[in-house]
Symmetry: C2
Subunit: 138 residues, 2 copies
């Protein structure tokens, strides 16, 4: 039974593991350290914590794999990220990089309820391009 709560930092590591595995089928600690701009030692430490919480499978010098619970959790985080980024980018008209950077932080904070409302709002706005255009020219 994986423990539910992850810190922002551990969520970032899990998200990175998921993305890398999705992309390449595997992930190495050094890639994580580059993606997240942290030392290899910090990655080892974080991976041990994620394994202890049963979000990944991992042991000394072993290949990293992600559990079902890890996949579920990672997808939740990534979904949050995407909804937030889309709001900033597509509704407010913020640049892609600024939208992404801010979304990276807010994804760890926003509640499920607000997320759902925001997601609906994004959809509603994209069904009303006229409104968004008037806002942008305003």
């Amino acid at each position: 039974m994986p423990e539910a709560k992850l810190s922002s930092s551990l969520e970032d590591y899990l998200e990175c593991v998921y993305n890398r595995i999705n992309l390449n089928g595997v992930v190495k600690a050094i890639e994580i350290s580059k993606d997240l701009n942290v030392s290899r030692a910090s990655v080892t430490e974080a991976l041990n914590k994620l394994a202890q919480k049963e979000y990944i499978n991992y042991g000394r010098y072993e290949m990293i794999s992600i559990t079902e619970a890890g996949i579920k959790k990672a997808r939740e985080i990534i979904n949050k990220h995407n909804v937030i980024q889309s709001f900033f980018e597509d509704v407010l008209g913020v640049s892609s990089s600024e939208a992404a950077n801010t979304a990276c932080q807010i994804e760890h904070i926003i509640t499920e309820n607000i997320l759902e409302k925001l997601s609906n709002f994004n959809k509603f706005c994209s069904s009303e391009p006229d409104f968004i255009n008037r806002f942008k020219n305003n």
Copy 2:
């Protein structure tokens, strides 16, 4: 010359000092500890840091006052809070308490640029109540 950067935590303390002083003219450490749900010891520590950064005036057993730089900074934080809360509450229709709690965290993260766009968006939406009503009944 006050140092610019404050951690999320110190921003919370400064915001609390500002609000209490605005409300009552004075603020006591114990009130801060109750508002922020931390120990009196943590308050002492935070106040020393804020004083060292010249956002407040403070010394051992002395009355707490806020500097000009502190007022400016606090108002920026509170403005961020209000814009974010208003978006959640008035645009998305989130409850006041959930909007406030989430805004409390996002206020430490959001960039000036996104804030400005969000603020404009709030204004634009309030000038188009029909759009918001259609979203809410959707």
